[in-house]
Point group: C2
């Protein structure tokens, strides 16, 4: 909808753009054109992007040089065109998303078009502490680079950026995790130590070597949902991670909600039950303490094991639910109810089109969704009708890593010339 | 902070702007220049806004014709300049904000610069039902126009727009209140019936006559805070209305959070206490049921009276608290605690710089703020330090009406030529 309450920025006096700003902006324009419209000819880009033919040719030459664009492919009308006339995004520039979570590490690599190149997820117990976590992450990074280098049929790709998802409050500018209750981290630097472990040039940031960034897992997963999930393009959506921790990634009017320090969206620590169960953060009655993975395992009298991935941990519960075990079904009904109670708060606050349940919730949809939907409708002030959906995610446990990779691609698109330092 | 998770819009291909778009945009540019920079000469506007002298002269002539700009005043350096050389915003174009609440009606009139021209608030019992409410609102509008016409020393002003604040979910496009629990309204049209009652041309909207719009009271009050309150310009702020109902107006990154249907920010219906006290909306344990004005009056064994304004209703409580009455102080401590519990949820979700308590809370700050601050800190995942403040508003009970007037001014600024229909 049109934002009738829109407030104008304090000053609308246009800034004078310098030559480099214009060049950067035009490079971005061409890249985004190919990304959103698809393969196109120079003439097509020129007319549709409102640039001159000569400018486009110069920009394209630069982008080909950087590996961001290549000749080939079919144009918008499906014609292959004469050789050299149709352009598409290059496949040689990649971005890496990684995730550290309580019980796994994951990595996902995509190219400029968002196509997945490889993914890996492995069981990992973050209780080993931050140093051992970063060492394991560095090892996963090296293995990923080796696998990319070994893949046949293409030249060694350029990795344009790495974004690491962490379940906690992240000081994005510093690459530091301020607070991650379930990892038991406080003020843990990630970007710089990783750079050092990997003996990459530069001390982090984009000064030299591959730029490493750190972000909140739920915010990044929400970006993955917004860009390529089942509800891609939905301007108002809430993504809820379903892991040991419960995080939230909130898209408002097509933009991620960050807040002052980037700490927004901590849905897991909404208080939903005064004096409720103890939470990993030390408080009582947080939503996470009611619906997090460990809370479910405890209710279902399932001992949490450190050596299996989350979907294996809930396997016995899924089996018993399928078999109609009444105690298990009661536990899942209770879980669904509390999901719905918290979801109603989010619906009242954000009026989203969809609330997407990720992580382990996606394996329990048939039992939890109907109950949760009922509690959601009961707790929402607005009659929801067709306009609010509660669904499970289709992205699985690599959503945050995928969001990290998309975030890294987004940075290249916004400023293609940063690649110069890497090629 | 820079939004590192920023997502680009799907298409960046620039639209071709027509002649009328450019003219409208330039008219807006000149108006906003005078609004933000202050009085200035044609030459000053031209150089600072990046337009030619000739274009500015043409635009200014048009704006003077519309009454939006006038010659006179001092320029940016405090010089009066030669007559006719310095331009400032006109005083002849006004905007009206009005509010319907459970126990009062209010009106506030401002000019283009945001200067208050008049205000009025009167006790009113909304229990009389929607028709009688609209009749009373129409009468208040007529009285306001008469007062404006009667004010000496200036020509009869042009009213550029009216925005009416209502404590409930508003379908802004239709000018209809979908749900207002404390008024007991459901699907009540406001803009069109008011237009008819006032026998204004056109059936609402901007087609003819003065445009009437309807908005949520808390969203509009948040705009007033953002534009002219004690925390003006703070890009991430949460405003909480303190009336019989508790609403929320949330500014995220400098823009009001609306959600899909404009129903976002319903903080009063967050569930904070399962099976807690009964709320006006029919549910149990809503924040509003814990901290709304009627909840306080009930705890303090104060009978809610329909014939006095909210600040008078709490007068006995303020007196007893000043006198050190222990029961009253305990009631206020409890109120402060529940304010803090809900505020912590909002802090976890929005990571704002400030949470502003409006309405009746502003009269109880000394007793409720310390307790609320404690519960807020205890319930927030991020260490708050200096970066999150909990304060009372300085705008009083006319905040929503003021936001309505600012909203109407904003519409004129964005599209000055709509005034042609009115002059």
């Amino acid at each position: 909808m049109q934002n009738i309450y829109r407030v104008s920025s304090a000053s609308v006096i246009p800034k004078r753009a310098g030559h480099n700003d214009i060049r950067r902006n035009n490079l971005e324009l061409v890249l985004r054109h190919l990304s959103t419209v698809g393969a196109d000819s120079r003439a097509g880009i020129a007319s549709r992007a409102g640039l001159t033919r000569a400018t486009v040719s110069r920009l394209v030459a630069e982008l080909i040089e950087l590996g961001l664009v290549r000749e080939g492919g079919q144009d918008r009308d499906g014609r292959a065109g004469r050789p050299g006339t149709v352009l598409e995004l290059g496949e040689g520039v990649l971005a890496i998303g990684m995730e550290i979570n309580v019980d796994y590490l994951s990595v996902l690599v995509i190219d400029l078009s968002g196509r997945e190149v490889l993914r890996e997820r492995s069981v990992f117990d973050a209780a080993v502490g931050p140093d051992a976590c970063l060492t394991a992450l560095a090892e996963l990074y090296r293995r990923t680079r080796r696998r990319l280098a070994a893949s046949r049929g293409r030249p060694t790709p350029v990795v344009a950026g790495v974004t690491i998802a962490v379940p906690g409050l992240v000081d994005v500018a510093a690459g530091v995790v301020a607070e991650a209750p379930n990892l038991r981290w406080r003020d843990v630097a990630v970007a710089e130590p990783l750079h050092k472990l990997l003996r990459l040039d530069g001390a982090g940031g984009e000064a030299g070597g591959v730029p490493f960034h750190v972000g909140n897992d739920a915010n990044l997963a929400a970006i993955a949902e917004y860009r390529s999930g089942g509800w891609a393009g939905t301007p108002n959506l809430v993504y809820v991670t379903g892991e040991v921790g419960i995080g939230g990634g909130i898209i408002v009017g097509g933009q991620p909600l960050l807040g002052t320090r980037g700490y927004g969206g901590e849905v897991g620590h909404m208080n939903v039950m005064p004096d409720g169960p103890k939470c990993g953060c030390g408080r009582r009655g947080c939503w996470e303490a009611c619906i997090g993975l460990n809370a479910l395992l405890q209710s279902a009298r399932q001992r949490p094991r450190g050596d299996v991935p989350p979907e294996r941990k809930i396997e016995p519960i899924v089996k018993r639910a399928r078999g109609g075990d009444e105690r298990t079904l009661a536990v899942l009904t209770d879980l669904g109810h509390w999901i719905g109670v918290g979801a109603a708060n989010l619906a009242n606050l954000f009026d989203p089109q969809v609330i997407i349940l990720g992580g382990y919730f996606a394996h329990l949809g048939e039992w939890i969704l109907p109950v949760a939907q009922e509690a959601l409708s009961a707790g929402t002030l607005a009659r929801s009708g067709e306009s609010l959906r509660l669904v499970t995610s289709t992205l699985g446990f690599t959503a945050a890593a995928q969001g990290g990779a998309l975030h890294a691609i987004e940075r290249v698109m916004s400023n293609p010339t940063t690649l110069l330092a890497l090629t």
